[in-house]
Symmetry: C2
Subunit: 511 residues, 2 copies
């Protein structure tokens, strides 16, 4: 069934040819332009008529669906269930948790009216009906803690009602001023977990566990190595007592926060008066976490692996893992190739490989090759008349851009293995890049020099003060990406203030 | 993996006991109250702090997820792909298709501002920042034709770009004045397919095909018989030239529109100037369809099958198909029962049955029975010490409320068959009810009498005029639910006006 689905969807993905990769700006020329062009040319997403909001196109959405499916499986395996809460948050609820409100009020979409009417002054035009003003404004959720904790109040009386382990797949809106496809959009898709616990220890453990789930997902499925760490106070989620995060490094040496998991303490329980009777019969406020990843991960995926020819996709997330392209001069040849291709498709599908025979007659093989490269299909098989004679195929790897003649016999298990190799190889390559771009520095000169030349993460001692952190940000544009969970205790002095420090933190310029 | 998921989720579904079914109002007493109570008591959904918006609780959401998975599979099998378009529609785009705008402008949420600020007059409170007024208001999508057709304009130049077969899973908002959980809520979840075609015939075929997909889904998965038909002009989707629909009948004799599929003609293509070069090299406007089903289906599911003890779920949509409840007096007995239960669970899971051992020590068997009845678990297995001795179990069917002692040996394949039987039996029961509630009438007296006493669909001749239709609605509250696709041509006279008519249509009071 799954294979059938892939067949059909790929059939559509191939129906239109995206603009070709030869026009793609190179990374060296202009990394930012390369990214923007790639997203559009590979048919992943495009800007919409709504300022800052994107359209996620079918090929991009198919990758997001694969991410969703895997994450959803991991959430359910760790005991979570999905639910759905309202899109709107009444202003009075939004106000309740002060820090959270302060953090998000600056950038939210506000619904003030519930009706349009014909504009009496402009025929055929509509205007807001002034009679239809809401008594209380509604905020389009920038995050759902407020509406969810207001709901949890009705669900929790006793420790027997805990834990609540709920996740929501939803759209959220943050009125960002400068937007970029996937990386920062006014509306984005995400999942937000919201859990309620009887004890602080349990909530902390949950927050850390979900950060671990994100790390596993990023590394094993997206092939993106991440540093697990804690955010500093100034970088924490508004309303959190501790924010766990996973930080990734893009090819241009800038960091990208790929997921966060917050220990919210009792802040929301207090703001919404959510108490429970504990095992000892005493009343206590409930402990909370929340955690999320979003379509921003698409940006991380693209910027970690792709190259000047286009998208490079890890096989675990590729909507099509193998594409077969026929090379022929007449119908007879095509028929013979089709027979071999269909047999290959069947064998590959039986092994759970998603694959497609690109038999379009409207495109030449060269155009097909360019398209599949641009769209990051991990393996391409070309079959021509010579191959038929020799009982072989030409196999091309998207990640290394290498080609090889392979015998048809015994091909499918080799492809299966090769896909796994590509998955590992992409991760290893990204890991090497990341690891060689974590630079320990011991002076502020060195700090600035590394940031400006080598780029990447700078591992430096910091005195723990927000003042120093902000000063460094002002001077270098670098922020503390995280305090790594595995940071060694060591005696040192702050790279900026010279004050004592016990561990190194990771600075970087970031998306 | 799937089974493991069910195990985990069911573990959570059972963690809290919903309010018991004994307090459920009976259908005979007050059908409407019964429905409202059932939705809440079975833990499917509840009202939220936002007027007219609901919270879909985990158990309710798990059923919706099963619906989504099946529908998504069917859409992909018919060649559709998912994508995602913005939540907001700029007012100017919303205006473009006049009828569509007129139909939805009355009931939409309008975003006018993009920022809140601290209220200088009210410490700790927020107010809309008057400086942050949008230049153009944004409508929260009540449906996405406008934003999507504005996007398609950029995707379509030639017949080679067609068809576009795209679906979106999304939330939409319609500012309904009177709301009821699942049936009519201000925000609801749905899918909306939006397709673009080169010819009228192809678009019509698509609209009819997707209505057929909905009918198949309703009948085979939801076990709800439906009538496939066309809407009259006054009941059509705003902006459509033809609306196909599936109409179901609830136990109280009221109809429920369960899905619609619209042939939009060239209306949206004209409104958004979407033209293409056809095979003959001439420019033409594109032909369109749109089609959707929503969380309203949850309401249909509940009202078709459930009874005075609570929810009755068709096995194909039940998050847990079989629950095993141990009956024991001491740990030794529990241990022995657990061993048998675990072996049963393994065997059932191997057959793809989702099942759960309800071993909670906090609840007595009676309470567990009541909960599983209330939540509609299709099969319940009770195992006590006597059963262990006799190598048997007690098997109870939720739909018939019958119990049977069954030998343990060979039990699992019998359960698998039984689940299929229940699925068919629920459909047959609903079909019998529906078929005996389609009454042909030939006079307006008879018409009113059937509506008021027997209820259900009234099959009557109608003169085809909107005037008559509206008059009948005014007098009886019944609307034309559809002109059945399989309506026979026959000579007749309109039940109200006495004017000539060539076929019968179905009237009913409706949700």
């Amino acid at each position: 069934m799954l294979n059938y689905f892939y067949y059909l969807t790929m059939h559509n993905f191939c129906a239109k040819t995206p603009k070709m990769g030869k026009n793609l700006t190179s990374r060296g020329e202009d990394y930012s332009k390369w990214y923007n062009e790639l997203v559009v040319k590979a048919d992943l997403a495009e800007n919409s008529a709504v300022r800052g909001c994107m359209v996620i196109k079918p090929y991009g959405y198919a990758i997001w669906e694969k991410m969703q499916a895997e994450l959803d499986r991991m959430f359910k395996e760790t005991g979570h269930q999905n639910a759905y809460f309202p899109l709107f948050v009444p202003k009075s609820l939004f106000e309740a948790e002060e820090k959270n409100a302060e953090g998000f009020a600056k950038e939210c979409a506000v619904v003030t009216h519930y009706r349009l009417q014909n504009d009496p002054d402009n025929e055929g035009k509509l205007r807001v009906d002034p009679e239809a003003k809401l008594e209380e404004e509604l905020v389009v959720r920038p995050t759902s803690e407020a509406i969810i904790w207001n709901t949890y109040k009705g669900w929790i009386q006793s420790y027997r009602d805990l834990p609540i382990l709920v996740n929501q797949w939803a759209n959220v809106v943050r009125w960002e001023m400068r937007t970029r496809l996937f990386l920062r959009t006014a509306e984005f898709l995400w999942q937000e977990g919201h859990t309620a616990h009887a004890t602080k220890a349990e909530a902390l453990q949950e927050a850390e566990q979900m950060n671990d789930v994100y790390a596993t997902f990023a590394e094993q499925f997206m092939a993106i190595p991440v540093v697990k760490g804690l955010k500093t106070e100034s970088e924490r989620f508004a309303g959190a007592e501790e924010t766990y995060c996973i930080e990734a490094l893009m090819q241009d040496g800038k960091a990208l926060q790929a997921g966060t998991s917050h220990f919210l303490g009792q802040n929301f329980a207090k703001a919404f008066d959510v108490k429970f009777t504990n095992k000892e019969g005493k009343m206590d406020h409930v402990w909370a976490t929340s955690w999320g990843v979003s379509t921003r991960l698409m940006g991380a995926l693209i910027m970690t692996h792709s190259d000047d020819k286009g998208l490079v996709l890890p096989p675990n997330l590729a909507p099509i893992q193998v594409v077969i392209v026929p090379i022929y001069k007449n119908d007879e040849q095509l028929d013979a190739i089709t027979e071999v291709a269909n047999s290959l498709l069947n064998d590959l599908r039986a092994l759970g490989v998603s694959c497609k025979f690109d038999s379009r007659t409207t495109h030449r093989p060269g155009a097909k090759f360019a398209q599949h490269e641009l769209q990051g299909v991990p393996l391409r098989i070309a079959i021509g008349p010579k191959d038929l004679e020799n009982k072989s195929v030409e196999l091309a790897r998207r990640d290394t851009l290498t080609k090889e003649i392979m015998p048809l016999e015994g091909l499918t298990p080799k492809i299966k293995v090769l896909l796994e190799e590509i998955q590992v190889s992409l991760f290893t390559k990204a890991l090497n890049f990341r690891d060689t771009h974590i630079t320990e520095v011991n002076s502020f000169e060195e700090f600035k020099d590394v940031l400006n030349t080598k780029t990447g993460f700078v591992s430096a001692h910091w005195d723990g003060s927000t003042e120093t952190e902000l000063k460094i940000k002002e001077l270098t544009k670098a922020t503390i990406r995280c305090i790594p969970l595995d940071a060694k205790e060591e005696v040192g002095v702050c790279v900026y203030s010279g004050q004592p420090s016990t561990k190194r933190v990771l600075f970087a310029k970031a998306y």
